[in-house]
């Protein structure tokens, strides 16, 4: 449900890394990044490499080993769960799962934005934008997080329109 190439390009632009070329193998859907003659393969590796190149170690968990491991785990979630959704049922399972995870959290890890916030938001935004207002309210925690991350300056590129969320709850008793 996501466009890996666009997502990685958006990430590169957010991190202000220039001269990036991303190609996605049409069969395996594995992205390959070319930057200054270096090639990096795979979404997780590309994202980590971009963050390091930009000097944003805080995005990949800094020096905390546990947090760095959690970053890789959630990037793995994006690759194995979100990018492999084939049916609407898969999508709704993913959204439900994310919603319940985010119930007690502002961001995916710790108290600051990290790579998983960005890449998972890029990954689910098209699916979230297709939800009705009632469904968005049902996934209220996911909606709150999504609205928050997409509002961070530079996360959405000019051509990307933010997903619309209503400011106040409309329905009674739909939140799960």
């Amino acid at each position: 449900m996501a466009d890996i190439k666009q997502d990685l390009k958006a990430l590169a632009r957010f991190l202000d890394v220039k001269g990036v070329k991303v190609n996605v193998n049409s069969e395996t859907k594995v992205p390959v990044l070319t930057l200054n003659g270096m090639t990096v393969t795979g979404l997780s590796s590309v994202a980590n490499y971009l963050a390091k190149t930009a000097g944003r170690r805080d995005l990949i968990g800094g020096n905390d080993a546990a947090e760095r491991a959690a970053v890789s785990q959630w990037l793995e979630y994006r690759v194995t769960e979100i990018d492999r959704c084939h049916s609407e049922k898969d999508v709704s399972t993913v959204l439900k799962e994310l919603n319940s995870y985010l119930e007690t959290r502002t961001f995916f890890l710790g108290e600051r934005v990290t790579l998983p916030d960005l890449l998972i938001m890029y990954g689910v935004r098209s699916a979230v934008s297709l939800l009705t207002f009632q469904e968005k309210e049902k996934f209220m925690h996911l909606s709150r997080w999504c609205d928050n991350v997409q509002s961070i300056e530079g996360v959405l590129q000019k051509q990307q329109t933010p997903v619309f969320f209503v400011k106040n709850p409309l329905y009674a008793g739909v939140q799960s």
């Binding site: 119930e103 502002t106 600051r112 207002f133 209220m140 925690h141 709150r144 928050n148 009674a172 939140q175």
Partner: protein, 231 residues
């Protein structure tokens, strides 16, 4: 009103509810608004109020930077559910103050300067809030209201019903409140939109509603009233 004395459970509940669909008290980043409400709390909220607790932990992680966070401190009673209209006025006002040095020239055609619109909207919002507050003070006799279920029918199966719902919900009138909606199949892959609303009898007539909804003529073929109940 705000969250009032934030130490009581009732107000913690209000805070919890308020933060269900918001990450912060105001806007999309941590600000002095969060600090004020944070400092009014006596400690971490209980675990069952997970929205409040999530926010508490988030703000707590900024503790060492409290004094350098953006925004202006206001009294704790200024924040919260009923203060939403007035607090909407502040960011717009700040924007105006920030960029008054470079683009002060008169824009004859009013092309892309939406600051004015924002300020205007904020002004209207605060005026409306003031009017509402005044209306509340007067305590008018009970208002006659009706619950209406509308059926909106599109032209064909290619009409985007989400767009229809969005358009219908975009209708704003004094005394009109939209409720739940669902799509009901009519046949041949066509769905009609069933949407309920509550109206104040004196302020909103069904004719006004019908006129406004059928005004989206690219999407809406016709509109019916499926149910009409006095509350």
């Amino acid at each position: 009103m705000g969250f009032g004395d934030s130490k009581t459970t009732v107000c913690l509940n209000a805070l919890n509810e308020y933060l269900a669909d918001r990450s912060y008290i105001e806007g999309y980043t941590v600000s002095q608004a969060d600090v004020v409400v944070f400092e009014a709390l006596s400690g971490a909220p209980p675990a069952e109020l997970y929205n409040a607790l999530r926010w508490y932990n988030q703000v707590n992680s900024y503790k060492s930077q409290f004094s350098s966070l953006p925004g202006v401190k206001k009294d704790v009673s200024e924040y919260g559910p009923s203060a939403a209209a007035t607090s909407a006025a502040t960011p717009a006002a700040q924007n105006d103050a920030d960029d008054d040095d470079d683009d002060d020239d008169v824009d004859l055609f009013g092309s892309d300067d939406d600051d004015d619109e924002e300020a205007l909207a904020a002004m209207q919002a605060s005026r409306k809030a003031a009017e509402d507050a005044a209306a509340k003070k007067k305590k008018p006799p009970p208002i006659a209201k009706s619950s209406i279920v509308l059926e909106v029918k599109p032209w064909d199966d290619e009409t985007d019903m989400n767009e229809v719902e969005k358009l219908v919900r975009s209708i704003e009138m004094d005394g009109l409140l939209w409720g739940a909606s669902k799509l009901v199949p009519v046949g041949y892959g066509i769905n009609k939109l069933q949407i309920s609303c509550v109206v104040v009898d004196d302020k909103v007539g069904t004719d006004d509603l019908e006129e406004k909804i059928t005004a989206f003529e690219d999407f809406v073929q016709s509109m019916d009233i499926a149910a009409f109940n006095k509350i």
